[in-house]
Every structure is written in C-alpha cells, then in structure tokens.
C-alpha cells in the first residue's frame, strides 16, 4: 500500500475513532443477528438461536480488539488514553492542578523571559563575521580609575602597526552633525569617523559603492561619506544611482561613495553617516579615540595585550608629554578585551544574576511540584494497590504517571510561554537604555528548545517520583491496612522536610539578593545629583556650519534664543550647555593644566570634563555657585576666556590654591593646537555627569566666545537648553518651537525631554534589576511558604490519629498547636540558616549590582530573616490551628 494512503488511514483511525467504533459494533451485531436468524429459521427458539449464534461467533470483544489492532494506531491511542486519563485525574483535584500549573508557569515563564534576554544580548554573537575575534584596543592605568583610551590615534595608527597579533586595527569616533543636501530638510544626525581599515576589521563591505580609499583617509584628501541603509532609504528613496552624488556634512561637501547594508550598526544603531577619520600623523594626541581590532586566528586578547604593552613605550617618540617613566609610574598598559564586553559589559552582571535568580525560582517551583506530587502519590497508594491487585502492569502505571506529569507540564509551560512573551515585550520598555541589543531579544528556536529540554527533564523526574514511591506498595497489606498506620513512615517525612528546607534556603538567597538591590536603589534615589531636576524642560538646538560659520554668529544665535525663551510665559530662568548630566553623550575629557603649576614632566595631568555654558544655566539646573560669580554675557567678549570650575577640580587640581583668579587650560602644553589660558571666575557644585553611581569627575564650564579659540568652537554649536518653568512641558516646547521658527525656520527643536525623565532613564538600570529581583524574590518566598504549608498540612493530616491519641491522653489544644507551629519555625530556621550561608558565599557576585550597600548589610539580613520566619510561622499557623481543633473521638475513627 502506498505511504500517503496509509497515513490517511491512520489519520482517519485517529480522527474518526468514534465512527469507526460504532461501525464495527454494527457490523458485529448484524453478523450475530443474521446467524441467530438462521438458527430461528431452523426452528429453535429465539433465545436458543441467539445463544448458538454467540457461541459460534466467539468473543465479540476479542474480535473487536483484533480489528482495532489492525488499524495500526494502537500506541498513539493508548498514549491519548493515558493523557485523557491524566487530564481527568487532574480535573478531579483542581486545587492541586492549579497550584502545580501556576507554580510551573511562573518558574518556566521567568526562565524563558530572562533566557531570551540573555540569549539575545549576551550569547548571540555580534552581526559581523567571526565576531569573537573582534576586540577593543584601549589602555588602562594601574589605579584603573578611568580606563584611559590614551593617545590612541598615536598608538593604534602608528606604534601598534608593528604588532603581529592583529589582522587589522581601526579607530572610530562618534559625534553628531548637520546633514544638508539631497531632497530632505536639514537633519541632525549621528556620524562616526572611522579609519578606512574599519571595514577590514569588521569584514563588512558597503552594499552599494565602495569603502574609503587611502587618499580619502588622509588629511586634506577628498571628502567622502558612506550612508547607512536607513538614511539612504529615507532621505534618498533608496536611489541606486546615489553613488557619486554629494551631500553636505556640517556644511562641507562630501561625495557619497557607498551605502552600508541594512542592519549594519556600528558602533551604535542609528548612526547615519560614516566619514574617514583622516588621522594627522603630525598632530596626534586625541585622548578619546576608541580602537577596535580583529585578532589573528588563535591569538588571545591576553597575548595581544602583552604584545601591545611591549610596543607602548614607542609612543614616547611621537609625543612630548609621555615619557617611559610616566608610563611606568602610571602603570599604563594596553588593554585588549573582547568587543562584545564593551557592548554588553554593563548589563552582563545584572543579567547573569537575574538568570541565576529565576533559575532558583524554577528550582523552587520544581521542588514544590515534586512535593505536591509526593503528597498525591501517598494519597493514591490505595488506588494503586487496587489496580495492581486487578492486574495493572507496573509499566503502564509508570506511563500513566508520566502522562499526568506531562499534562501538568504542558499546561505549565504553555502558560509560562504566554507570561514570558508578555514579559519579553515589556522588559525592553522597562529599561530602554540598559539593554544594548534590543533588536536581538525575542523568543526564538534556541530559547524554545532550551525550555522544552528543561521541561522534559522535569516531567520525567516528576513522573517517576510517585511511581518509585509507590513501588513498594504490597497490594494485600495496603488494601487491608489502608492508611490507618498511626504515624507516617520516617523516610517519607524526612525526604519531604529536606525538600522544604531546600526551598526555604533558596527563597532566602532570593530575598537577600533583592533586599540588597532594593537598598541600593533606595540609596541611589537619594544620591545627591548636584542639581534639581523637577520643573526643568530641556531641548537641543544645533547650528550647522553652513549657516553659522563663525563663533560670533553661534554665540549671537544662542543669546537671541535665550532672550526669546526668557520672555515666554511661565519661564523662570533658562540657560544652555553642551550636554545634560546623566545622558549618554560625547562628553569631552582632557587633562587640565593650571598656570603657575608645572606638573612634574612625568606625571599625567588629571582629567576634567570640558563644557560650554551660558549664563542662567546654573540657576535653571539648580547647580549652586559656591564661590565667585556665575558666568555673564559679557564674558563672551573677554579677550581671555572665563570659566567656572567645579568643587572637585578645586580639590584635585588646585590643591588648596585660591581658585578665583587662577588660570587653567585643557589639553597638553606645547602642541600645535595648545589651548590658551582661561580665567577662573567662580566655583560651582559638582554634578553626577556620567551615571548615578559614579562620583563626579569634575568639569570646567567655558563661556561662549566670540573669536574661535582653537577647537573650542564646536562645543557651543550644538547646545541643550534647560528651562526652569511652571508651564506644562508640552506647552513650553510648543512655544519654544514657535520662537525658534521665527528666529531660524530651518532649525529643528530636537531631543525634547524633561530633566526628570533624564534622571529616570539613568535610574532605569537599577530599576530593572530591582524589579527583576523583587519579582523573583516575591515568587520565591510565596512558593517557599506554600511548600512549607503543604508539607505541614499533609503531615498534620497524616498524624490526625496520633494527635487524636495524644489529645485523648490529655494533650491540650494549645500544646498541639505549639508543637506544629514550632515544627514550622524550626524547618524555616534551618532553611534560613542554610540560605544565609549560601547568600554570604555568593556575595561577590552581587557586588557589581550594588551601590552604597555592603553585601553583608546587617539591616537587609535581619529584615530577610524576620520576613522568612514570619512567613514560616504563617504557613504553619493554618495546619496548627486545624490540628488544635481536632475532636479526639472523630480523629481516632479517622480513616
């Protein structure tokens, strides 16, 4: 017979089983009737005829069975039967089923959700060929305080070329700039300058056109630009003849030489343009140029680090501020590490710990369900004994037990997946800035496969437990004696208690973890930001070179705009600066020198942030001026620039000298672009610039200037306005937009946000881990309590007769209650002790997640202990009360 026909038949046998059965029935009956009729015709009575017919026919059931076997779907039918049987069993005990399914759903759902994030963010390689050979090339000093990307342009582009560890090395640097030309309005876009070797490092070619030529990557070479796929589609309608046309980047005409493939996102998604870096070998020394390299096959990052560190002293021949002694004293070394670390480094500890947490929750869930199944197995001992006595095969009993577990698990896993898909869509929204590879998070085949595997292992374990427990059942003894044994057997009791202790211990670990994170979050909430975020609305206005060519026009524009804003209704005060605190930005750090202080030639000058600010900015932000005066508009006209420094600069750089009147300059001395001195006119408070949990680095705020002073000019070109107002944000932004349109209709009002939302975003990382931990801990605690409750209830029920005897012999209800309560507390206390020990031994893991709280924080540990003991007592209370209310007479008759 042909295969398809056979499959069709099988399907029919499975699907229309009922019809086939009734047809079979009818055919058999017809045969019997005809046979009987034959006998009747020969003159025997109806009854006798029927008897003879039956005799001749033989066992109808036996024939039917043979026919059923003939359909060839016996195994499937039996499995379906077992599943249906399991389902009926589960439906009979809805409480148990609901508890088990919910427990499993929470355990599995949490794991699937977190694993999808882990898989998407940490495990799935970057979207480049051989991504594990991609490394970041950086430098660090012994203190490790600021991982300096030291004069990387020098090192990577010149000195490290002698290295044998790399296939290719590249530098890149991200900034923002204006884009004009093509069909659209002027745009403010993310731009990345790259050395032309970047395409060799990443091994990605433009989808259209070509990479940069050596000529284009040289200073004063022809200007070239490569577009992102998204920009090409949006702005140029995906025009394939785009190559060779020109656009203006920051007002300078560039020839479009290529379009990157869709999905190419380096170094961040959203970069619209790549331009050549055009490193000037006669003028090296940028401190903030990240390097990326592709290791030769087989070379480890450690080997590469060693080799580059050996080459590092070569830098001294090219710069006049680094000597071999400086390098030695600062403990300056190369630092080559996987590029993926930089992409996901910040979230890695959070995610791994969170995963461990939900893993614990799953374990607790499994223990809980195992424990529930054990109870069930014991209550079913009589049923099993009866069935064995009636000839049920042990193998079939095992199969049925497995089928029941499988049903539970299917329901649990199904519900868990629903929960997980909900969580996966919600997670990124909870922590928009925290998860760096958002696009990669989804529930995919790998995640599903892992879940299925875990679920299968759990199902088998669950299914086997009750059967093994009941294997020793001797049908005769069981049926005779029933569950009347006065006490439960010691072994079972101990196994179950061990399970509960393990649960409580795991719940303790979860609670300690989430308690610590909660305390950290609380501390972070109350950290001194250095500014008052409430009531401040912010937005960015960027001025393209094409329209604002001079520093003077830039300063003029910003002052004019500020004047307009100040006259708007409800505005208290307004000012502007280059970047907001706490927002991911391209903050500029450079060494800071002070006039009259000649740093020893070998000492690296301390770093300070370089900012531009307008008058009004400090008042608008609520940053206190602690000495001297704030910036004034007249400072813009001063021959010598005016600056404010923060308190930490006074402390670290000026070392006790009076700050007002001192003169400082960013950058190193005696280089071609050496910056002139500026007068310090005031001191302001520090703000948390980079992130909530990092101490302020210290900043110098420059007044806008009328004459271009070296490379200071670009800092003022794109400014964030901070407006302290009583107006609703939307209304204020609408009026600001109207004012801007009157001043210059070609400029967009970008990045409109409230300062509160900026701070909230900065907290999102901590909030994300806190939420994850709290949810895991609450579920863990809840499950632990349920487990304890279940065990104590069961033990109490089993001991009903024993308790009855005791009460008949004079035990008081309160002594019975106390004994059961005590048992609950002892079990929780043992679990608690084990859990605390485990939490302490894991404390190093928690460290990167905490802020201002020691992993051994006594407040947290005490609170956790109290919560756990209370939960334990509560879980024991109900069974204890039930036992104390027992009527001894009824208890003794209890079956």
């Amino acid at each position: 017979m042909r295969g398809t026909k056979r499959i069709a038949m099988w399907l029919r046998a499975l699907v229309s089983r009922r019809t086939m059965e009734s047809e079979l029935d009818e055919e058999m009956r017809f045969h019997l009737d005809m046979e009987a009729a034959k006998h009747t015709r020969r003159g025997v009575t109806d009854d006798e005829a029927r008897r003879r017919a039956s005799l001749a026919f033989g066992s109808v059931e036996q024939h039917k069975e043979a026919m059923r076997d003939g359909r060839g779907v016996r195994g499937i039918e039996r499995a379906a039967f077992d599943l249906r049987f399991g389902f009926r069993q589960l439906r009979k005990t809805p409480g148990f089923t609901l508890a088990a399914v919910l427990t499993l759903a929470l355990g599995i759902g949490g794991n699937v959700a977190v694993f999808s994030v882990v898989n998407g963010v940490l495990l799935r390689p970057l979207a480049f060929p051989d991504p594990d050979r991609l490394v970041t090339i950086a430098h660090r000093t012994r203190g490790g305080d600021l991982p300096l990307t030291l004069p990387n342009a020098t090192a990577t582009d010149v000195v490290y070329q002698a290295s044998h560890s790399f296939d290719a090395m590249a530098l890149y640097s991200s900034w923002q700039g204006s884009l004009t030309g093509g069909d659209g309005a002027p745009e403010w876009v993310d731009v990345t300058s790259v050395t032309r070797s970047l395409f060799d490092v990443l091994r990605v070619r433009p989808a259209l056109g070509r990479p940069f030529t050596a000529d284009e990557d040289r200073p004063h070479g022809p200007r070239a630009v490569i577009l992102s796929h998204a920009l090409w589609r949006q702005r140029f309608g995906g025009d394939p003849s785009i190559i060779g046309r020109t656009i203006a980047v920051e007002g300078t005409t560039h020839e479009i030489v290529g379009v990157m493939p869709a999905g190419f996102a380096f170094p961040t998604p959203g970069v619209a343009l790549w331009v050549p870096m055009r490193v000037d070998r006669n003028d090296l020394g940028g401190f903030n140029t990240p390097g990326i390299g592709r290791l030769r096959p087989g070379v480890t990052p450690e080997q590469a680090t060693r080799e580059l560190t050996q080459l590092l002293p070569g830098v001294t021949k090219l710069t006049d501020f680094l000597t071999e002694k400086t390098i030695r004293d600062a403990g300056l070394t190369a630092d080559v590490h996987p590029y993926l670390d930089d992409v996901v480094g910040r979230v890695r500890p959070v995610l791994w710990t969170l995963w461990a947490m939900v893993g614990l929750v799953l374990l607790i869930a499994c223990v809980n369900v195992a424990s529930l199944l054990l109870v069930r197995a014991e209550t079913r001992r009589r049923e099993v004994a009866l069935r064995v006595a009636l000839g049920a095969e042990r193998g079939h009993l095992l199969a049925q037990s497995l089928a029941e577990s499988a049903m539970l698990l299917m329901m649990g896993a199904g519900l868990g997946l629903v929960l997980a898909s909900g969580a996966v869509t919600a997670l990124p929204r909870l922590a928009p800035d925290l998860l760096p590879r958002l696009a990669d998070i989804r529930i995919d085949a790998v995640v599903l496969l892992c879940t299925t595997l875990v679920a299968a292992v759990v199902a088998v374990a669950f299914g086997v437990v009750p059967v093994v427990r009941n294997r020793a059942v001797a049908p005769a003894a069981m049926l005779r004696g029933g569950d009347r044994a006065a006490t439960i057997d010691r072994h079972t009791g101990r196994l179950r208690q061990t399970l509960v202790v393990a649960q409580v211990a795991m719940a303790t670990v979860l609670l300690v973890g989430s308690g610590l994170v909660l305390r950290s979050f609380h501390k972070l909430r109350h950290v001194d930001l250095g500014f008052r975020p409430d009531g401040v609305v912010t937005f960015r206005i960027a001025l393209p070179y094409s329209r604002y060519k001079t520093s003077e026009s830039v300063a003029q524009f910003h002052y004019a705009m500020l004047d307009r804003i100040r006259t708007m209704a409800g505005v208290e005060v307004a000012g502007a600066t280059g970047t907001l605190p706490l927002s991911p930005s391209f903050a500029e750090y450079d060494p800071l020198r002070m006039e009259g202080v000649t740093a020893p030639p070998d000492v690296l000058p301390p770093l300070a942030e370089m900012r531009v600010a307008t008058p009004g900015y400090f008042e608008a932000m609520g940053i206190p001026v602690v000495a001297g005066r704030p910036l004034e508009r007249s400072d813009t006209d001063r021959i010598t620039g005016a600056v404010l420094v923060t308190q930490s600069i006074v402390r670290k750089v000026m070392q006790g000298r009076p700050p007002i009147g001192a003169r400082v300059a960013h950058g190193v001395a005696k280089v071609s672009n050496e910056r002139p001195w500026s007068d310090v006119v005031g001191v302001v408070g520090d703000v948390r610039g980079v992130s909530l949990d990092q101490e302020p680095v210290g900043a110098v705020y420059y007044a806008m200037v009328n004459r271009p002073k070296v490379d200071m000019d670009w800092l003022a070109r794109s400014m964030v306005y901070a407006v302290r107002t009583k107006q609703p944000p939307a209304q204020l932004i609408a009026s600001a937009r109207r004012e801007l349109a009157q001043l210059d209709p070609t400029l967009p009002l970008a990045e409109t946000r409230t300062l509160t939302s900026v701070v909230d975003t900065a907290k999102s990382g901590m909030r994300f881990s806190m939420l994850g931990f709290a949810v895991a801990a609450v579920i863990g605690l809840f499950m632990g309590a349920i487990g304890l409750y279940g065990v104590l209830s069961y033990v109490t029920a089993q001991r009903t007769r024993e308790i009855g005897v005791r009460m008949a012999l004079g035990a008081t209800p309160s002594s019975v209650r106390t004994s059961i309560l005590w048992r609950g507390v002892v079990v929780s206390a043992i679990g608690l002790a084990a859990g605390l020990a485990a939490a302490l031994s894991l404390r190093m893991l928690a460290k990167p997640l905490l802020y201002g709280v020691a992993p051994t924080d006594p407040i947290t540990l005490t609170a956790v202990s109290l919560v756990l003991l209370c939960a334990g007592a509560l879980a024991a209370w109900l069974p204890a009360r039930r036992a104390a209310r027992l009527d001894p007479v009824r208890a003794l008759r209890w079956d």
Binding site: E27, M28, H31, M34, E35, L55, G58, H63, A66, M67
Partner: protein, 110 residues
Amino acid sequence: MGESSNEPLRGTIDLLVLRTLSLAPMHGWGITQRIQQATDGVLEVNQGSLYPALQRLEQKEWIDSEWRVTDNNRRAKYYRLTPLGRKALGAETQSWRRLVVAVEQLLRTT
C-alpha cells in the same frame, strides 16, 4: 464450532474471500455462508479471522466497502472487489494452484 478440520488453511482465507467477492458484493455474514455452501460445509470461516482479513484486504485496497440496505431492510457493510483485487485474485489463484500441484506431487512420490 472451532473444529480445526473445518477451518481453512492459514493464508488461504484471503483467496477464499476474494473469490467469493468476485461473484457479487457481499456482507461479512454472507461471505461465511457462501463459503460454507460452496464447499458443502467442508470449510467454515471463523469470524475471528474473517473480519481482520477483510480489514487487511481493504487496507491493501483489494476490496472496498460501503453501507447498504439488505433485502430485509437492515443496514449492512457490503464488501466489493476492486480492479486491483481482481488482479490479485488471479495471482493468488495461480499461486494456490502451483501449491496444490506441488503438494500433490510430493504426496505421490512418497
């Protein structure tokens, strides 16, 4: 019943059923009666082997079945030979004859 002497040889039941159905479509009981009549009661087909055989033949597509109403107005499942079954009947008959000749030959030479 169940006298082994009256039961057809194992494996020949397919042939008997096919041959019987080649005359006219028939229900299961009819087949047993027809075989009994045609062999003067020498061969009695056991229901326990008849129905599995019918199922097997149907799965091989040598016969097919439909529910029809009998002369005395009852529903019964009628089996009918398919063209494939007719071909198979020829082949089965041939091989049966060869077998009979071979067994005869063996008996004579002894």
